[in-house]
Amino acid sequence: MDNEAPHDLTAAYALDALDPAEERAYEAHLAQCELCRAELAELRETVASLAYGVDTPEPPARLRSRILAQAGAEQTNVVPMPRRWTAPAAVAFAAAAAAVAIGLGIWASSLSDRLDHAEVTQQQSERVADILATEGTVSTNLDGRGKLIVTPSGEGALVLNRLEPPAPGHVYEAWVSEGGKPRPAGLFKPGRKVTAFPLTIPVPTGAAVMVTEEKAGGTDLPTSVPLFLVRT
C-alpha cells in the first residue's frame, strides 16, 4: 500500500477490484469517512446497473430448489431477548456505519479494522477476523442483531450490532451450552458500533451459544436471563 488517502479507492472498491489488503485499509477508512460512505452508496448503484449489461439466460430450474433447500437447512432456532437492544429503525447513522459496510457484501473479507478497540483488544479483533476468513465457516443470523460464526473446527465468534452497555459494575458473559450445561466462554463489554468477540472455548455441533449479563469478573454459571440464545 502507498501512503495515499484511501478516498481514491472508492471506485475500485465499488467494482470489487481491490486486493484483500487494500480492501481492509479502505474499509477501515470507510468506517470513519462519511464522505466516502455517501460516495460509495452512489457508485454502488451505478455499478449494479452494469449487471444488466449481460445476456440473461434462465438459470437451470434445479438451482432454485437447491438454494431454498440449503437455506432451510440453515434455519436455526434463535430466541431473541430484545430487552437491551435499540430499535433498528431508530439507529443513528454513525452507529450503523459498520453494519452498512457489512450489509454491502464485504462481510467475510475483513472486519478487524471496523471494530471498536476500546473494549475488545486488537488481538481479539484479529482473532475474529481470522475466524471470519476461515473457509467453510457457518454463520447464524441472530435475528438481525448480529451473528454467531463457527469454523469447521468449532472455533466461534460473536459479532453483535448495537449492543447496549451493561449496567454499571456488570459485564456480558458468553456461554457455550451442551446438553443443558453452560460453560463460560469469555467476558466482554460492547463496543460503540459493532462488538466482535472470539469465544474462548470451542462450539461443538448442536451446542447453544448464549450471552448473559453478569457482575464484573463473571461467574461460573449464568445468573440472569440470556440476552439471546442461539442453537448451532
Partner: protein, 198 residues
Amino acid sequence: MRRDLAHLSDEALVTLVARSDESALGELYDRYSRIAFGLARRIVRDETLAEDALQEGFMSIWRSAGQFIPERAKASTWLLTLVHRRAVDLVRREDRRRAEPLDFVVESHVEAADDVAWLRLERQRVQGALRKLPDQQREAIELAYYGGFTQSELAERLGEPLGTIKSRMFAGLGRLRELLAEPVLDDTPSWTTKHPTT
C-alpha cells in the same frame, strides 16, 4: 401454503428474509435469478461455476439480510453486489479470468414475456452507455467488473501506473452514471414502446 408475495417491494422481501422467511427468499430469487445468473456466468465463464456463484450469493443474502439498511441502498443493488462479490471470489480462486470484451449476444429467438423484454431493454441501455464511454475507461471498468481483475492486476496488464487505472475507473463510473440517467432516444427497437409493468 404458498403465500403470494408478488405485491411486496424488494426491500420488504429482504426484511422477511432477515426473519428466515424462505418463501421471501424464493420470491427474490424469482425476481433476480436471471440477471444474477447472467452476471455470474459472464464473470466465471462456466455454467456450473455460475450456479455455484448464484447459490453462494443467495446464501449470503439469506445470512446477511439482517444487515441490509434500506436507507443506504436499493435491495436490488445490495443483492447484485453480493452475487458479484461471490462470483469474483470464485473466479479469482479458480483463476479462470478472461479478458475478452463484453460480448453483444444476438438472441436467436424473441421471448415475449414482459420481464424478458424489460431485461433486453435494460441490456441495450447499459451496453449503449458503455459504448459511449472513452475506450480506456470502458476497458478498465469492464475488466474489473466483468473480468474480476484487481486494480493492480489491471495496471500491470495494461502497462499503466496504478493511479491512472484508479482515475479511469473513477471517471468512467461518473460518466456512466450520467449516461444511464439520460433518457433512451435511439437504439431502441419499436417493440419497447409497450411499457412493461415492473
